[in-house]
């Protein structure tokens, strides 16, 4: 492997570990952020998400203005389509049932949470399921494409991104300031080693920006879950795996800023650009959360868990993976990467998350309360 690739992967591993550590300390749950708005009328977790998106928008725009962003908008984002909303809706339902989003599952798993591991297995299974419908879904995605080649809102209205992004940052900043004035950033959490949510949101915005500088794209993890599914299929049904275009094509191309070499990748088993930019983040988040839990003496696997919850969490993982592939992209990719750039795909995904999380809250309540 090239030395430059080692550098990138090591850097992403450290970024992932720092993110996992922070997320565990603050229990920074993006699934909970959307779920609690509907389930408890609580905005405690959505506020740091607004701060994270606002700061990311500011940092990404600064990078663009200073010319250090290798590609703008980020590669792999496409013009909007109706499937972005539907995918977001499916994803929102799945993440609430799974008890965490695609990275929430990782940091919870790193702290020894068995339910998160079951959701992780669901994510792998859901990715395998999507591979079976990929061709049909891709044609549906084309049919629901909007008649524009623009990727971001500034491109769509034909202006430079600076004014729309600054307006967005001003609105987000105004709300954050109002919450600060109202004392709403103070979290009454009595967990040992708790880090305030605003501080973690700020740290995550910086880490996300560092990831962009390292590899030229924002953080994402879910295609590597599909790689996990491909790996399992390569052991048990290799003949079938070879017939699935989702696992055999390499549609993603990226030049890493460090060497400028164009590399390709996809959901297949191969070690490619997807593995380079995603696997270290996954391992880092798990490792960072594990370290945090160990330092606090909180790493513990509880084996005795209600069966109805096991079923729900696994189903949630499957549904979440389907949503991530249908959209395409997960909450991290869209909220932490595309939304700050006012990417239309990401905005539609976020719109879809709302009814999905609402529905997820209804089902969750039924499973946890009625069946308890």
């Amino acid at each position: 492997m090239d030395f430059s690739v080692w550098i990138i992967m090591s850097g992403l591993l450290v970024i992932g570990a720092a993110a996992g550590f922070l997320m565990h300390r603050s229990d920074f749950c993006m699934a909970g952020a959307f779920r609690d708005v509907f389930l408890f009328k609580s905005y405690k977790l959505i506020r740091p998400l607004v701060l994270l998106i606002t700061l990311s928008a500011l940092l990404f725009e600064l990078f663009r203005l200073t010319g250090i962003l290798p590609s703008y908008p980020f590669p792999w984002f496409a013009p909007p389509a109706g499937v972005n909303i539907f995918g977001g809706m499916v994803f929102g339902l799945g993440m609430v049932l799974a008890g965490g989003c695609v990275v929430g599952v990782l940091y919870k798993m790193g702290s020894g949470n068995l339910m998160a591991f079951i959701a992780f297995l669901g994510l792998i299974a859901g990715s395998a399921l999507y591979a079976e419908i990929h061709i049909w879904w891709r044609s549906l995605a084309k049919q629901t494409s909007f008649s524009t080649q623009a990727v971001t809102i500034p491109q769509w209205i034909g202006v430079s991104s600076i004014m729309p992004v600054l307006a967005f940052v001003a609105i987000g900043g105004f709300f954050c300031w109002r919450w600060q004035r109202a004392g709403l950033w103070v979290n009454k959490n009595e967990a040992e080693g708790f880090i305030p949510l605003w501080l973690t949101a700020t740290g995550l915005a910086v880490l996300g920006a560092l990831a962009v500088l390292l590899c030229g794209i924002p953080m994402g993890v879910t295609t590597s879950y599909a790689k996990g599914a491909a790996l399992v299929e390569s052991w048990i049904i290799p003949g079938h795996l070879a017939t699935l275009p989702y696992f055999t094509t390499v549609p993603a191309h990226l030049s890493l800023p460090v060497d400028g070499i164009l590399r390709s990748g996809g959901a297949g088993v191969h070690f490619d650009i997807i593995a380079i930019v995603q696997v270290p983040l996954i391992l880092g988040i798990i490792g960072g959360a594990w370290l945090s839990a160990q330092l606090l003496g909180e790493f513990r696997i509880i084996w005795k868990v209600p069966f109805n919850q096991v079923t729900m969490v696994f189903a949630g993982g499957v549904i979440m993976a389907l949503g991530a592939r249908m959209s395409p992209g997960c909450n991290v990719w869209h909220l932490w990467g595309g939304f700050p750039l006012l990417t239309m795909q990401s905005l539609l995904f976020a719109v879809g998350l709302l009814p999905g999380a609402w529905l997820g809250g209804k089902v969750l309540q039924r499973v946890l309360i009625t069946a308890a």
């Binding site: 565990h24 300390r25 229990d27 749950c29 909970g32 779920r35 609690d36 389930l39 408890f40 609580s42 008890g99 965490g100 919870k108 949470n113 068995l114 339910m115 979290n187 009454k188 959490n189 009595e190 967990a191 040992e192 708790f194 606090l296 003496g297 909180e298 790493f299 513990r300 509880i302 084996w303 005795k304 868990v305 209600p306 919850q309 729900m312 969490v313 309540q365 946890l368 309360i369 308890a372």
Partner: protein, 80 residues
Amino acid sequence: MKTLKMDIRGQVCPSSLLLVLREINRQHRDLIAGHLRMVILTDNRDATGTVPEAVRNMGVDAVVEKVGGYYRITTQQLKH
């Protein structure tokens, strides 16, 4: 005083808050009168903030202690 023990360790989020809210609604009178206390065992770090807050909003106090690798939240009569 009776004690109602709820072991919610290992359960999916937000089981702690949902199940505690259900029990508080069921046993509200006894909790307020000091005839009953709830002891909740949880490994959910967020619950150390959300559960005491929800309990206090319903007129009952709560104390959080770290026991081993998890948290014990005990309700008690609110002192006026």
